[in-house]
């Protein structure tokens, strides 16, 4: 059992001025300070939750992803080499969890138990002030993304929904830059083919 009593407070009246950096929080968390973990969570969870929800098209499932992400992260904090880069590290874990979710959906679908309801979730997240053409694009693309392979879908979504650079996508997906480009291109081709079918 970790001894909470010996850990200095991170925030509050007794703490000297500055907000602790991510690196400091990581060091403290590695030492068993659960409040440091909580602060890491508070700092990054909302971003990860938003990203996971957009990638998955399911807000409820996104919560599970955030839960899994931090469980993994807290367990593997010792494996984080660049302590200042905790945000990117957490994001890569979350992307990996999302990938696993996609695979799980395929598995469940393979058993004949899949549900189409999930894939309508993306449309439900569209902001009220979104322009009509953006709204139409998102509604059109959501079911088509669902038919793509998990890798292509993730790569495309990170690029076009999250706006990540190719380098970031490669790092997040744990693949080479060429592989990331290839996956995005394949996804774009698949969408283009479908679009041609609509235009004809």
């Amino acid at each position: 059992m970790r001894d909470q009593a010996e850990v200095m407070p991170l925030e509050g009246p007794g703490v000297r001025g500055t907000t602790p950096s991510d690196a400091e929080l990581v060091y403290r968390a590695r030492g068993g300070d659960r409040r440091a973990e909580a602060l890491l969570y508070t700092r990054h969870a909302a971003t990860l939750l938003g990203m996971a929800a957009r990638l998955l098209g399911d807000e409820i499932e996104a919560r599970d992803v955030v839960q899994d992400t931090f469980l993994i992260a807290f367990r593997r904090l010792d494996q984080l080499h660049e302590v200042a880069a905790v945000r990117g590290w957490l994001k890569s874990i979350a992307v990996s969890c999302v990938h696993r979710r996609f695979r799980r959906r395929r598995w469940v679908s393979w058993l004949g138990l899949g549900s189409d309801e999930v894939e309508s979730g993306l449309s439900a997240m569209i902001a009220a002030d979104a322009p009509a053409e953006v709204r139409a694009e998102l509604v059109w693309v959501a079911p088509r993304l669902a038919r793509m392979s998990p890798e292509q879908r993730l790569a495309w979504s990170l690029r076009h929904v999250e706006g990540d650079s190719l380098g970031e996508i490669a790092a997040l997906m744990g693949c080479s830059l060429a592989t990331a480009k290839r996956r995005i291109a394949a996804a774009e081709r698949a969408l283009a083919v479908e679009l041609q079918g609509v235009v004809r």
Partner: protein, 408 residues
Amino acid sequence: MSRPTLGSWLRPRTGEAELAEIYGRIEARRDRVGRPRVVVVALALGLAVGLALVWGGRRPGETSLAAHDRVFAPPPDTVVPVLVALDDGSHLVVLPGARLELDGPDRVRLVRGRVAFAITHPRPTPFVVDAGATSVVVLGTRFAVERRVDDMVEVAVDEGRVQVLQDGAEVAQQTARQVRTWPPTAMWAGTSGGADDATSAETARREGSAGSDDPARVVDRGASRNAVAAARVDRAVVGGGRGASRRGPGSAGAPPDSARESSSEAPDDAGGSAVGEAAVPVGTSTDAVAVGFAAADLARQDGRPAEAARILQRLLVDYRADSRAGMVAFALARVRLESLQQPAEAAVALEDALRLGVPAALAESVRARLVEAYVAVGDTTRARDVARDYLKYHPRGRRVEEIRRWAR
């Protein structure tokens, strides 16, 4: 000016309440990670036992069916599969009558029976299934392996490609939608022993008059969302609509004469010695309701109740005629009531459970929870009616005193 990303127009709810709830779940799960998880779902051994297994708070490693999470062997006289979730995201479904032993993180030994595998990729080292002299080596795909009492081994590939070894030497690369039956050792190729044990899949091949290169044998079921329904259709196609079917796990009856005559003709494009081959889907011997239950319970135990509810809801829609539909409805109601705090939806599921039929031992619990659900949504009239039913049907029920309050 560059165009804003699509994501900037997607605004999921990420409020404090959601974040606090997630953190609470993280805290609750901190000490429960790191081992292969075993979920045993009981359905047919007796519903009381079933409920204890499904909802009785079992945790990994506590099941009597597994020893130290390394041996998985559901008894043959049940329809209950064991779903094993490995840390790398792979899933194994150990079907009744099978015995599977984990030899390491990437290696398992199939002692008997049928196991379906969904192995994640990419992976640094191949995943190996040893079944006697036959080994199946994969880098990530979905397939099933069945080892019969006579040591014949059926390998059914649903997606991707697997490498089949016999006595340590590669004999074939099996690809998607191929089912082949391998003799106990490579020496058995084409012998009468192999012929006697040819599978009904082989019968199907014969009756369909389809060789290994015949594209007509390959049934595309990618569009199907219902594996069982697809399986039925596929079997009809493969078997020419004359009743050809695969045997279930562990069944080793004599094949029809046609199969016996033809087993040595089975082609092998990779130089292997398979004695039977057909395009039969992997999932045909899988009990979808049982596996669905297992998947739902895995989700529930992992703190993903929404996913559990989704699976159960789907089961309820697709298998409403199944004798276990009432159980499914009850399980759904419990998830909605206890994990998702959705009493209104739970009430609907509980009413459904009563309509579909549940055993008497369970009916008491269903009615008690129905009272709870109606109370929670503020429908005191309906709560009173159900409470009166409870007292009428279960006068000596465990919750009589508590329920009596609402019957007034």
